[in-house]
């Protein structure tokens, strides 16, 4: 059954970093295949947050006392961690947000309303998460900026020729596109996208919410202009995300939220802004979460992207081959270049029912439209069930999934 040989990862050690993985659900050992929705947290992340709260907590940036200085250092160190993770040219290019969604909204507000002009267009793809669709609907309705959608092929890949045609009239000022689909697992051809977009005068934002979990990202090598990711999918806490943007773009953009910490001076009459990144970070930030994210980044780096990517590649292939043999099951998305999420439907069984049945066996998967309704419509389906993998996923967990799905099939048969 288990023809899978683990890659270079010491999975047992990795799993021992995650207290939750020894839990049971409905009396069964937890099989957590919902990491693409949010990953579990290693002890290093939990400890970093607890340690901050127990030994050196205070509000940051404006404090002149020891606790505040230590907390500021720990929080700001995460900016260095994030800059290193993305290979950003400058730590000042790292803006902390709540999550990817806020990062994209920040761009839609500050770049979309402050730099783009009515009559220009934003180009997304047909496989975006709602977080990379709705902000552009709102921008369009508020400022008359057109929204274009690049189609995908039936295999679930970006139709790169059609993509290029959408740019040809030169009106597109910004391409905002996923780097990896949360439904199909598809990676988009990032370098190619940047090349084409730049040739037509458009900037490029990648929604890296999924991609950065599975693959090393180098924003300078990609050549993109904005990169967004969310901490909780990268083994970090909730409440913290990152927008990376080229410094000159951040400097050209007006601020988004107003408040403490983002100003240079405030009088009754007017406010002037601090330099980036602080210009975009109003109010008390998610300090503890920033500290937790730093620990998550360092945890990922210690494991190493090469090992993680190889492990997840093997898991994905194993899952594809196991699931393919289940009668009535259809895998949705057959891209060449893909990461560790596998969506599927089953004849006669709705995705919700599948998820509930799997849950009874201790197996956590996601079911529904995955915040990607337009993609669902494009695929002609209402929902899928989705299994997704992380550094701590075992091949035997995929076997458990496949075995249980066979029984689900019988149950509804």
């Amino acid at each position: 059954m288990n023809d899978f040989s683990p890659a270079t990862l010491d999975i047992a050690r990795i799993r021992s970093d995650f207290p939750i993985l020894s839990q049971t659900v409905h009396g069964k050992p937890l099989v957590f295949l919902d990491s693409a929705a949010s990953a579990q947290k290693p002890r290093a992340v939990i400890d970093a947050m607890v340690n901050a709260m127990e030994t050196q907590y205070a509000n940051i940036h404006r404090g002149l006392h020891w606790m505040s200085e230590r907390t500021t250092e720990a929080y700001e160190a995460t900016r260095d961690d994030a800059a290193r993770l993305l290979n950003a040219a400058d730590r000042a290019e790292i803006v902390f947000t709540r999550n990817s969604t806020e990062a994209i909204n920040l761009v839609a507000h500050s770049y979309g309303r402050g730099v783009l002009k009515p009559g220009q267009a934003v180009l997304i793809s047909a496989m975006e998460h709602h977080s990379n669709i709705v902000p552009w609907h709102m921008l369009r309705d508020d400022r008359g900026i057109e929204l274009r959608i690049a189609p995908i092929t039936d295999a679930g890949e970006l139709d790169i020729d059609a993509f290029e045609r959408k740019l040809e009239d030169g009106k597109v000022g910004l391409v905002s596109i996923t780097h990896m689909s949360n439904v199909l697992g598809t990676y988009t051809p990032a370098e190619r996208i940047v090349q084409i977009a730049h040739a037509h005068g458009a900037k490029v934002l990648f929604d890296g919410s999924q991609a950065i979990v599975h693959r090393r990202i180098d924003v300078q090598a990609l050549g993109c202009d904005f990169y967004a990711f969310t901490g909780h999918k990268l083994y970090g806490p909730t409440g913290i995300g990152v927008l990376w943007a080229r410094r000159e773009l951040l400097e050209a953009m007006p601020p988004f939220l107003g408040g403490g910490d983002m100003i240079s001076s405030v009088t009754d009459e007017r406010s002037t802004w601090a330099a980036a990144p602080h210009k975009f970070e109003a109010g008390t930030p998610a300090i503890l979460e920033g500290i937790g994210l730093g620990a998550a980044i360092r945890w990922v780096e210690a494991i190493g992207y090469d090992a993680i990517a190889a492990h997840e590649q093997a898991l994905t292939e194993h899952a594809m081959s196991r699931l393919s043999t289940i009668e009535g099951l259809t895998i949705i998305g057959r891209a060449q270049d893909r990461g560790g999420v596998v969506s599927f439907t089953m004849a006669g069984a709705h995705a919700h029912d599948i998820a509930t049945l799997l849950d009874r066996s201790g197996i956590a998967v996601r079911a529904g439209h995955h915040c990607a309704e337009p993609l669902m419509r494009r695929l002609g389906i209402d929902s899928t069930a989705r299994a997704s993998f992380a550094a701590y996923t075992l091949p035997s967990e995929i076997d458990a999934l496949a075995d249980t799905l066979t029984r689900v099939r019988e149950f509804f048969g």
Partner: protein, 151 residues
């Protein structure tokens, strides 16, 4: 790994109604209709109502995309409210919603016995909405609103 303890949720009658609902399909004519959406999961249902001269619900029908629970619930609902006056249907809704949330039914009668197979959802908080969605659409149709507001 056994799925047998799922039988409390997926009783045979639910699987049956989920697979082969007898009240599905948009009728040629109807007096009122309303849609219900669950934005969180994408389930959709539309309910179509006709009334007899006394104002009682006649041959209620629905059109749904969703899971076995929501289809079975819509189908059993159609059975349960056929022949009822709007106010009676509203009372059934309230009792059904309580049963879906708690698993208990304080005042069982024939109608509630019909719906009882759905009581198992109370163990699955995220699935309670699947069972109540068609009912919210029904309530909206009775009020003459086109769209059910979610809870």
């Amino acid at each position: 790994m056994s799925l047998d303890d799922l039988r409390d949720l997926y009783q045979e009658v639910i699987l049956q109604h989920g697979r082969h609902p007898s009240h599905a399909g948009k009728p040629a004519t109807y007096a009122a209709t309303a849609k219900g959406d669950n934005p969180m999961c994408g389930d959709r249902v539309q309910v179509f109502l006709s009334y007899d001269p006394a104002g009682r619900i006649v041959d209620p029908r629905f059109d749904a995309r969703g899971c076995a629970i929501s289809i079975a619930s819509a189908d059993l609902m159609a059975e349960a409210v056929a022949g009822l006056a709007p106010d009676e249907a509203r009372r059934v809704f309230v009792r059904f919603r309580d049963m879906a949330r708690t698993g208990e039914c304080a005042d069982p009668d024939e109608t509630m016995e019909l719906l009882r197979p759905l009581a198992g959802v109370h163990q699955y908080p995220s699935r309670v909405k699947c069972a109540t969605l068609p009912w919210h659409a029904l309530m909206a149709a009775l009020e003459g609103e086109g769209q059910a507001t979610s809870e």
